[in-house]
């Protein structure tokens, strides 16, 4: 568990930030309007 947290948890955080960025770009109604 500790190994997982040290090695893989940070990469999951970065991966989620990429998903969020991808999604945020698609859901931009202000610019669309």
């Amino acid at each position: 568990m500790q190994t997982f947290l040290i090695m893989y948890a940070p990469i999951i955080v970065v991966f989620l930030s990429i998903i969020a960025a991808f999604w945020a770009g698609l859901k931009d109604e202000k610019i669309h309007s």
């Binding site: 990469i11 990429i18 770009g25």
Partner: protein, 337 residues
């Protein structure tokens, strides 16, 4: 300065040039497809096409120079990397072929075909991802020399968090560099709708970019402690790079000086890239190959240095003319040429 050091310095400069120019190109392709998905193609497609048409011919010159140079200066890299990169670089070449064919098909065939557009966008992310594997392998731990030739340890490579950190950084960097440049380009073209959309993309992708850069430093500590220690010796360059990132982003957020923002971004990546390169010295492949192992003979080295510097003198004026005659020609960017 020794010839070995001069050789690797010239090559590193070419590689940096490729990273910046190719990132803009790859990212522009992705945003073109992405804007289609977001139903905003009408906003930025025109500006991207204006940019891509003259540039795509130049991009790969940098990469070709680098490949020719690395084998010319350091022939042993062909032995070590030739075996290990057979699959990853073959994938890159196939993706480059798909990407190259898009230009032909979209120009002479069906316009705005969804499949072409999708392939074009996706290769813009997969090519840098597959090429970045070279940097991962160079850190050592993925090459087995117990057989007659170097063998790539695919399973270790695939499950390593360090591999994925570099792949993620390469992808988000492409998007961040490209969005930043295209914001400036749209501003110069007077296309403010496109500029606002691309500016937003720049801000959105800045977060993942800095997070993934920090992630690599963190992962390097576990994957290659020796390199990590050497990287910390030049930590002032990394701090400088971070400050430049903040300034560059600030200028984008404040909606002013888009050109300066891009210059700061290039300096930001330059500092980080050179910090990485300097700390990697003298290894080309940890721990087997350094720049001093099997360096080419002196006559060849001197000829290559002269040829490369002459190449730079040819390439820089060509790029300047390209920028002057097309990219920043006011009539061209506004579509009046």
């Amino acid at each position: 300065m020794t010839l070995e050091l001069l050789g690797i310095s010239v090559l590193w400069l070419f590689l940096f040039g490729y990273i910046i120019v190719a990132s803009i190109d790859f990212g522009a392709g992705f945003f073109s497809a992405y804007s289609d998905m977001a139903k905003k193609k009408h906003v930025i497609h025109k500006i991207i096409q204006r940019y891509l048409s003259p540039v795509w011919e130049v991009t790969n010159v940098f990469l070709v120079f680098f490949f020719v140079g690395i084998v010319g200066f350091f022939p042993k890299t062909a032995y070590y990397y030739g075996y290990t990169l057979l699959v990853p670089v073959s994938i890159s070449i196939i993706l480059l072929a798909i990407r190259g064919s898009y230009y032909a098909f979209s120009t002479y065939g069906l316009k705005d075909h969804k499949l072409y557009m999708f392939l074009y966008g996706i290769t813009g992310l997969f090519i840098p991802a597959s090429l970045s594997i070279v940097l991962v392998i160079s850190e050592g731990g993925f090459v087995d020399l117990s057989q007659h030739h170097p063998t790539l340890l695919y399973k270790d490579l695939f499950i390593s968090p360090f591999t994925w950190s570099i792949v993620l950084l390469s992808i988000v960097s492409v998007l961040y560099i490209s969005a930043n440049f295209l914001t400036y380009y749209a501003h110069e073209a007077g296309d403010f709708k496109a500029r606002d959309l691309l500016r937003r993309y720049t801000v959105i992708w800045s977060g993942p970019t800095i997070l993934s850069a920090l992630l690599i430093i963190y992962q390097l500590k576990y994957h290659n402690p020796e390199h990590f220690v050497r990287l910390m010796d030049v930590s002032w360059m990394l701090i400088g790079s971070f400050l430049l990132f903040i300034f560059s982003l600030y200028l984008i957020v404040k909606r002013g000086y888009f050109g300066w923002s891009f210059i700061l971004l290039v300096l930001q990546y330059g500092l980080a890239f050179y910090a990485y390169g300097i700390s990697h010295y003298p290894y080309l492949l940890y721990p087997y190959l350094t720049i001093y192992d099997g360096f080419t003979n002196e006559t060849m080295a001197v000829s290559l240095v002269i040829a490369f510097i002459a190449g730079l003198f040819l390439l820089i004026p060509s790029l300047y003319l390209l920028l002057k005659l097309f990219l920043f020609n006011k009539n061209y960017v506004k579509g009046q040429l």
